[in-house]
Amino acid sequence: MSMLDIHIDHKVYPGANGTGETVVFRDFKLRAAANEFVCLFGPSGCGKTTLLNIVAGLDTDFQGRGGISDVNDRRQPRIGYVFQEPRLLPWRSVRDNIRLAVQNDPVRLARIDELMAIVGLTGLEEAYPRQLSAGQARRAALARAFATAPDLLLMDEPFVSLDDPAAERLQGVLLDVWSARPATVLFVTHNLREAMLLADRVVLLRGNPATIVADRSITVPRNLRPGSAELRELQDEMDALRRDPQDTRRAGSGDGRA
């Protein structure tokens, strides 16, 4: 079964011109159960994107263990990564961008057009990324991540800069696709309301080095979440934790550098 077990002993950003370095993670641990949907939430600069890059294997300049324990013994776990920007290859059509991520698996290749329809890109299969609107490009990046049938889905503020209806629609699409084929999800967001609607668990990070300030499971079924009083309460509580750190000394030395 797929499951995430991150333990970063030490990760620093070198300072400019060798002037001091920022410790991003020190003895940082995060686990996620198989097929758990975890939202990472916290101020900019606290290392959320770095964490995703470490888990994805893109950032290897750290001490510790990045994470994905084996899905099963037969194959490498597959990763879908929705980056902060869509990052579509501009010189390949939308369909080719998705096809390239899928490799040569006939089952997943056959699903590409269906996925494009689900995210609302029908008719734009042969378009080049430059011809897409910002929202369409985000949907294409989403389709690419889904198309790999990932064991681990990493999402770095995938719906940022979309208007509310568009973001809500894509949140729905994400939940539909994820329910149909579950995967472990690490979802970075600045939007607490979004986290409340999507996640099984919301993790609040803060400071340099990053510490987990709050880690709450959400048990309310997803269809009951909009307007749920219980979630409203949790959201307020986390909002307060984000804004009003109990430990002012640590927050003062941490957030300033973010």
Binding site: R78, E85, A101
Partner: protein, 247 residues
């Protein structure tokens, strides 16, 4: 576009008029008028000599060009991507960049004899360093964001090269190819002059010894024309095709 072509034609026609006028004034065998040169081109085409020598020269240009581009692209990519390789060969590169073409040609003829292979390799070696420099620069400018996509989605080496790296290198390869063609066809003439018994360069050497300016101009004009046609018919469409996605 149309008006630019018209302007170039007009300016070339003006040059021919000036040439005709100057030839009239000089009234010398050393500056024949355009009509005489064009007649010489026609007669050389008719007796087959021009096309034969032109064809051989173009084959040499093509062979050296392909060799230089292939080796230059591979080495440039390696130097741009792998720091150890870059450090190991940077000194060689500087040396080769500053080596006069004539020296390479002489040394290759001395070491490998007056052979076709030596001629083609000598030309290629003159071009390889500039291809390396251009491709290395392009490789260093590769966008790491797209390389990250390739790694996350397990493109593998070959697909990364084809779908992520090559499209970003295309402008650099096109630049290297264009400057390459114009450098190579000039050096090929020197190689032919020094150590071959056919080709446009050989013919030019022959007519130089005879002080036959009419034939020198005839061969030169024919050759320049063919190279220009290659540029318009092959290089420019290739460049447009490669940049379609920019739309």
């Amino acid at each position: 576009m149309g008006s630019r072509i018209a302007a170039s034609i007009l300016s070339l026609l003006a040059l021919i008029v000036i040439w005709a006028f100057a030839a009239e004034l000089a009234a010398s065998r050393l500056l024949p008028p355009p009509t005489v040169v064009f007649t010489a081109i026609v007669s050389e085409i008719e007796n087959g000599a021009l096309l034969r020598h032109l064809g051989i020269t173009l084959l040499r240009v093509a062979a050296s060009f392909i060799l230089a581009m292939a080796i230059g692209a591979v080495v440039g990519l390696a130097m741009g991507r792998v720091e150890v390789v870059d450090k190991a060969f940077d000194g060689w590169l500087i040396l080769l960049l500053n080596l006069p073409a004539l020296v390479t040609i002489i040394l290759f003829y001395v070491w490998f004899g007056l052979t076709e292979i030596a001629a083609i390799c000598a030309v290629a070696v003159n071009k390889i360093p500039t291809v390396v420099v251009t491709v290395r620069e392009g490789t260093r400018a590769l966008n790491p964001d797209y390389l990250a996509v390739a790694r996350v989605y397990n493109f593998g080496r070959w697909r990364t090269l084809r779908h992520v790296i090559a499209p970003q290198l295309t402008p650099y390869l096109v630049a290297a190819a264009r400057s390459g063609l114009s450098l190579i066809w000039k050096i090929v003439l020197v190689v032919e002059l020094l150590g071959r018994s056919d080709g446009v360069g050989f013919q030019l050497a022959l007519f130089f010894q005879l002080f036959d300016v009419k034939m020198i101009l005839a061969y030169t004009l024919a050759f320049v024309l063919v190279i220009q046609v290659l540029e318009l018919a092959i290089m420019q469409p290739m460049e447009r095709r490669a940049s379609r996605w920019r739309g």
